[in-house]
């Protein structure tokens, strides 16, 4: 399953209050690709993801999914935090996508249980999310997205609110599950190391209005883990991306606020 975004623009508001968030942005993902979108806050990366998810309409441009698909959903999104419903227990949260698809209770529970095992939450299936840590709650969100078996996974800084250790563990788990499932993933982050560790390509965005500044392929062998971060290739990619981002940030500081 591939995704093609053509000439996406998004302007919020009208007249003198109009703010152009995305400007003529095009991108294509390969089948089973892990694409990271990196950019400073306010560069429109979350907006881009919401347009791809169909949650908001672009002012201009189109989003196209290509490749054979049946009744399975086109995409599933993992949100920053608070994406887990506090009024449902863990397994009902994970099974929510399946429930919306009309899957029977017994089937959605057994499928959800498989993923709860993968993320180490099987023992907590009947507990309420507020009894669990933030990291465990993001595991619920990950499991929910994977179990609904979408063509493309969209992730909006899912690990941004986690502490460093938990983030490393969850990045690892995400890579393992993705390795099993071979799904197309679009992962938005503002963390350079995270983008390099996870992505096949890193798409660097410029801010206000959001455009694609550069696309950097990450040529580090998979499976990857934390050790990859100490390789020369990783350091090289990090420097290259940092140079782009630094010039972006300096430019926007010199230009003042738009």
């Amino acid at each position: 399953m591939m995704l093609e975004c053509l000439h996406l623009s998004k302007t919020f508001g009208e007249g003198s209050h109009a703010a152009c968030v995305l400007d003529d942005l095009s991108l294509t993902t390969g089948d089973g690709e892990f694409l990271c979108i990196l950019g400073p806050s306010g560069c429109g990366k979350s907006t881009l993801l919401r347009i791809i998810a169909g949650l908001i309409e672009p002012t201009e441009g189109t989003v196209q999914y290509t490749g054979a698909r049946t009744a399975r959903p086109l995409n599933a999104m993992v949100f920053q935090e608070h994406g887990v419903f506090p009024w449902m227990n863990v397994i009902d949260n994970v099974a929510f996508g399946l429930e919306m698809q009309g899957v029977s209770r017994s089937e959605r529970y057994s499928r959800s249980m498989d993923f709860l095992k993968k993320v180490g939450l099987a023992a907590h299936a009947r507990r309420n999310p507020h009894e669990l840590s933030v990291g465990m709650r993001q595991r619920i969100a990950l499991a929910r997205a994977f179990v609904s078996d979408p063509a493309i996974l969209l992730m909006d800084e899912p690990f941004a609110s986690l502490d460093a250790q938990t983030r490393i563990i969850l990045q690892d788990e995400l890579l393992k599950i993705w390795g099993d499932q071979k799904k197309t993933v679009i992962f938005v982050t503002h963390d350079i190391d995270e983008a390099i560790l996870l992505g096949d390509r890193v798409l660097v965005m410029s801010s206000a209005p959001g455009r694609i500044r550069d696309v950097i392929p990450v040529e580090i062998d998979r499976p990857r883990d934390l050790q990859a971060e100490s390789t020369p290739r990783f350091a090289e990619a990090r420097m290259r991306i940092w140079n782009i981002i630094r010039s972006e940030v300096l430019q926007s500081m010199a230009g003042g606020l738009p």
């Binding site: 998810a53 949650l55 419903f85 309420n128 507020h130």
Partner: protein, 261 residues
């Protein structure tokens, strides 16, 4: 907490309440409190027991409870539904909001005479007054409950393909429960005020009628029994509601709310 603090936690309130009662009793017996206005607790208790024995308490209490229960149910159920609809749909809100805003501030006792003209002086007008009091409080809170739901929950639901009906049963209703409970708590308090008020002016039985009769016949102990019954009802309602809240919304306080614009 240090050991023994649990015991202190229970002991101190009991001590303070019994301390006040003992002081009251002592001051009364020493003749420092006029028995005309402040009969001693032991006499009030004796009156209570004799009223219990001849069934006066039961007769009045049951009548009041039926009125409160009926009015509460009739007012609360549509209040929740219309409030949720107003919270979820801007159109519904634009249509109904001015009407609600106009009627809500009217003290519900002020319209009781009108209700007696419409429904007669029987049970219906009393129940209607309580229902109207409950209706608006629950409606306003249910509406606020929906409007406070964080956008993220709607985005997740829509992203996973929730339809209107699923949005209502799986997101809107549970997510607004905490504020619906706030509305119900206020509604129960108001029911008590309204029921006593309407029973003062137009009832033969009921706690309000009992208090009013006690005033007219100057049975001061009975008056106190009536007041204490009202207090007991208030405490009872609050306790029941608290249990329901703990069961139905144990996650309250762990929910993301809409940013206040």
């Amino acid at each position: 907490m240090n050991p023994g603090s649990d015991r202190i936690r229970y002991l101190l309130p009991v001590l303070s309440v019994s301390g006040v009662l003992i002081l009251w009793e002592l001051l009364g017996r020493l003749g420092l409190l006029g028995p005309l206005f402040f009969p001693v607790p032991s006499r009030i208790a004796a009156t209570f027991l004799s009223m219990l024995a001849d069934g006066e308490i039961q007769a009045n209490l049951s009548v009041t409870l039926v009125r409160v229960f009926a009015g509460f149910c009739i007012g609360t159920v549509p209040g929740i539904l219309i409030g949720l609809a107003m919270g979820a749909s801007e159109k519904v809100r634009l249509i109904l909001d001015p009407i609600v805003a106009a009627i809500y501030p009217i003290p519900k006792l002020a319209i009781f005479p009108l209700l007696m003209i419409i429904f007669g002086i029987g049970e219906s007008s009393k129940i209607a007054a309580i229902a109207i009091g409950c209706f608006f409080l629950v409606l306003i809170n249910a509406m606020a409950g929906v409007r406070n739901i964080s956008r993220v929950y709607f985005e997740v639901a829509r992203n996973y393909g929730a339809g209107t009906r699923q949005l209502f049963t799986r997101i809107i209703l549970p997510a607004s429960l905490p504020l619906i409970f706030t509305g119900i708590r206020l509604a129960l308090g108001t029911s008590l005020i309204v029921v006593v008020g309407v029973e003062f002016v137009s009832a033969n039985y009921g706690i309000g009628a009992m208090i009013w009769n006690a005033w007219e016949t100057f049975e001061i102990e009975k008056l106190y029994v009536g007041i204490l019954l009202c207090a007991a009802l208030g405490i009872l309602f609050t306790a029941i509601l608290r249990q329901a809240e703990l069961r139905l919304t144990p996650w309250f306080g762990h929910m993301a709310y809409r940013d206040l614009e």
